[in-house]
Every structure is written in C-alpha cells, then in structure tokens.
Amino acid sequence: MTRYLVGKLAESLLAIWGVVTIVFFVSRVLGDPAVLLLPIGAGQQDLDALRASLGLDRPILEQYLISVLAMVRGDFGISFQHQRPAMDVVLERMPVTATLAGTALLFGTLIGAVAGAIAALKRGTISEFIVMVAALLGQATPVFWLGIMLILLFSVDLGWFPTGGSGTIAHLVLPGLTLSVFVSASIARLLRSSLLDIMREDYVRTARAKGLLPRTVFFWHIARNALIPVITMIGIIAGELLGGSVVIETVFAWPGVGRIIMQAIQAQDFPVIQAGVALVAAIFIVVNLLVDLLYGVLDPRIRRR
C-alpha cells in the first residue's frame, strides 16, 4: 500500500510539472505583456526596459527554468494587473469557488446516487423511466444555459434569488443548483449501469443463494462493489467542476478562481494564469489521490499492492 501511494504521489508530481510546463509555453504564445502594460505611445526604449525588468528578454528556456524553480518555492511572480503575488490573487478567490464546487458535488452526488439506485432497482418501471429521462436531459443541458434559464425563472420572473454575486446562501442557491443538475445526471447514469453490471456478477447470485434479504444483498454485495467506478467519476467531476467554473462563474458573476483566470487570459496576465491553472491542477490531483486512497479502503485487492 505504501509503495502504491508513493508511486501515485510521484505520478502526481510529474503531472503537476507537466501542467505547469504546458501552461508556461502556452501563455508565452499569448502575446507580449510588456506591450499591454505600457501606455499607448510608449517608445521602444521603455518597452525594452520593461521587458528586462520582467525577465522577458532572456531566452525562453532560461525563463522556463527560472519560473519552474520559482514555482517550486511557491513563487508564481507578481500579477501584472494587480501588482501583487499572483498566487495570493488566486488563493483568495479559492474559498468562493470551493464553496460552489463543494456544494454542487455534495448535493449532486447525493441526488444522483439515490436516483441511480432507484433506476437500477426499479428496472422497467415508470420510476426508472423518469430518472433516466431526467438524467439524459440533465446531461444534455449546457450548464451555462441552464444557469440563464434559472435566472430567468427564479430571479427575473419570481424574484426569489439574486441574479449574481456571492456572499449569502441565497447567492449560492442558483449556481449550486445548476451545477448539481450536471453532477447528479452523470452520477445517476453511471451508478445505474454500474449497479446493473454488478447485479449480474456470480457473487451476487451466491449472496442470493444464501437467502440474504434483498437489502443486505444490495448494500453489502452490489452497492459496495458498484461504487468503485462511481468514485473515479466523482474525482473526474471534481476536476470538471473546477475547470468548468470559468463558465458558470461568468453566468452568475461569481467572483471565483474561474473568473480570475478568465480575466487574466484576456489581460494576458501570465503569472495569474500560471498560478490559477497550477492551483486547479494541484487540487484536481489531490482529489484523485484521495480517490485512490478510497479505492484501497473499498477494495482489498488494491490494498495489498
């Protein structure tokens, strides 16, 4: 188990390094920040001076090495826009994003799990049909459009919730609901098919042949084993929620990491882009490490490795 974890950890560090590298080179293609920072009409001399002070005049590989070494120390540079350490700018927005993603993940998973279980257990009934149609619609609906529709209904027409911003529970309801729909649709569909697969396993027949009651068979023999792919899925969804926060935060004017990354891309604020993407990737990787740990708890075959 320890070796398994050490291996996973090493893979994760490699992945973070890879992400940082991608982001570094991609953002260098974006444009020359020095041009953006200077007022219009500034001379070539000013431009060169600014480049030199930002370290942008050095060879690209050298810049890369310098910034990777700095990143290892947690230093992502000073934001061009905010004139503060880029990581600070991103980190202070993190709680807002995490609240939204966490809420959606929690409620979405709960609703999705219940719906998926109902669909699998009530095969061929109207309940399964309703769940599956709802889940199909939920998966086919673009989150940003769903957000707009909810605003139209609950904010514009009914006036129950604010159209945007953050701070109170009321602000959280609409964006949280929007993302939960997406989460629960995915979970419901996956859990249903995973449950149906496990129900066909030989050991479930063994359990039934022992005369166990259906609920024992379901919870101990079917659900426990069916959860394994679902947990992987939750890890993936967590990543999609963080990455996808750009869109939903735009819709609800939610001042989170996604918005700050989006603004940084528009302003070509490299340090913030790098810090933001690295942070999101790191969180995603940590979530997936947790998923791997949970695997070990659920499946003794992995525990032994």
Partner: protein, 285 residues
C-alpha cells in the same frame, strides 16, 4: 447494415436519437435551401419580435422571434448548426483518428511507447479540459481551424486510453497470436486484425464525444472564444441574448433548446450504439 437498422427499430430511444440526429444533420446541410431569412441581415424595424405562430408560412414570419438586431432566430439557429456541427464533427474525426491510432500503437508495442503516451494522457487529464481549451484558444486565436484543433486536443485521449485498453486485451486473444504464428507482419496485424476490432468502440466513443464537444464548443463561443461574428453560433447567441433576458426571453431560450436537443439526440444514439455493440464500455469513461 440491414441488421443494424432492424436492431435500431427495436429500440425506441435509439431510434428517436437516430431520427432526431438525421433531422438536424439534414437541416444543417439544406439550410440555404429552406427558404429562411438571411441569418445575418438585421432589420431594425423588427427588433426583438416575440415568437409568433400565426401566419407561419408568410414571408415575414418569425416563428422563434427576432433578436436585438431584428435577425430571425430560427434562421440563425439553423445556420448556426452548420458551423457547430461541422466543427464538432471535424474535431471528433481528428481526435478519433489520432487517438485511435495512438491507442493501437501503444497497446500493440507496450513498453516505452506505451508508458510515455500514458504519462502524456495523465498530465493532460490533470488539467481540466475546459481550462486547456480556454488556454489554447486564447493562445492561438479563435479561428475555426484552431477551434477544431483545440476540441480535438480535448478529445484524443479518451480514444487513446480506451482503445489502448482494448488492444491490450485483444493482443492476448488467440487470433492475434495466430496471426503472429502464420508470420503476418506488423502492418497486417494492426490494420486487418486490431483496427477492425476496435472500430466499434471507436465509433461509440466518437458519438459520445460528439455530444460533449458540441457543449464545449457552445461554452467557448459563450465566452467569446468561438466562431466570430457575424457568423451565427449557438453559444454566441446565448451570450448576446443574456443582456435582454428580462425583456426578450426567447433570444436566450431557443438557442439553448437547440443545443439541448442536439446533444440529447446524439447521446441517445451513442448510448444505443454502446449498449448494442459494446456494453463493456458502459462504466469506462
């Protein structure tokens, strides 16, 4: 082929998906011949006209209303689908070819090739797809070609991973060993024995990816990084219409429904293909 349609007829949801997809594809192809108003022509006298179903076939009718510049929404949706579907299809095919070939190569050769490829997949997976797409579009600029490249970039790894897994299982199958035993060359084994046996999973992934890519394409244009105006695109229509949400609900509502229906029908078709041809793919995402 005949068996395919017979099986399709037996599945209500699969058939529904197939028919709906056909309608959308036909509408997209035939858009210029449907007698719709020119999608880019604004008419300031008919700004934000509400949908009206009376006189549906009269020349000035706007069954789904008009937008803030007086452009016909139905026409914009139909013409928008041309670009959206073309981009999505191109991305799916590009990502599918690259991913499938890499998956076959990695699964067949294993060893170093495989390890390197899977590391790249892992690294890319650590970066949420939406962020990756944003970054790359922002870097390369939002042209149609770049959009296709970016979307294919978010898609290839799904093919690569699943196809690689399939090939790893296939290469232990005895007919592959048998091909080695008769002295068949690498190319023959890859093209005649492996490729035909991964075409079905690749097709299933392609269909499910198509749905995901349509949504991502819409999200990118919603953020202003998609197809550039004046060309109509569904995401862009949503972004522009948002401003008028309290006065003209139809501007944002109908493009969204168009996306929803397209994605839904593609998903239904994809689910059916998967359940029919490759049920094992159900829990591998």
């Amino acid at each position: 082929m005949k068996a395919f349609f017979l099986a399709l007829l037996k599945s209500r949801s699969g058939l529904f998906g197939f028919l709906l997809v056909s309608v959308f594809v036909l509408a997209a192809i035939l858009a210029p011949y449907l007698g719709l108003p020119v999608p880019t022509r604004s008419n300031l006298l008919a700004r934000m006209v509400a949908p009206t179903w009376t006189g549906l076939f009269s020349p000035g009718a706007h069954p789904l209303g008009t937008d803030e510049l007086g452009r016909d929404i139905l026409s914009r949706i139909v013409h928008g689908s041309r670009i959206t579907l073309a981009i999505a299809a191109a991305a799916v095919i590009l990502g599918g070819i690259v991913g499938t070939l890499l998956g076959i190569v990695a699964g067949y050769y294993r060893g170093m090739v495989d390890r390197i490829l899977m590391r790249i997949v892992d690294i890319q997976l650590a970066l949420p797809l939406m962020l990756l797409a944003l970054l790359v579009v922002a870097a390369l600029g939002p042209s149609t070609r770049n959009l296709v490249i970016v979307l294919a970039l978010t898609s290839w790894l799904r093919y690569a991973r699943i196809i690689r897994g399939q090939v790893l299982a296939l290469r232990e199958r005895e007919f592959i060993l048998s091909a080695h035993a008769i002295g068949a060359g690498t190319w023959r084994i890859m093209l005649k024995h492996l490729l035909p046996n991964v075409m079905t999973p690749a097709l299933v992934i392609a269909t499910l990816e198509l749905a995901r890519i349509i949504i991502m394409d819409a999200a990118l244009s919603f953020l202003g990084l998609g197809v550039q105006p004046p060309n109509p695109s569904w995401g862009r229509m949503l972004a522009d219409g948002r401003v008028y949400i309290s006065t003209a609900w139809w501007i944002v509502t109908f493009p969204g429904i168009a996306i929803l229906l397209t994605v839904l029908s593609v998903n239904l078709l994809g689910d059916w293909l998967r359940d029919h041809f490759d049920p094992k793919l159900r829990t591998t995402r």
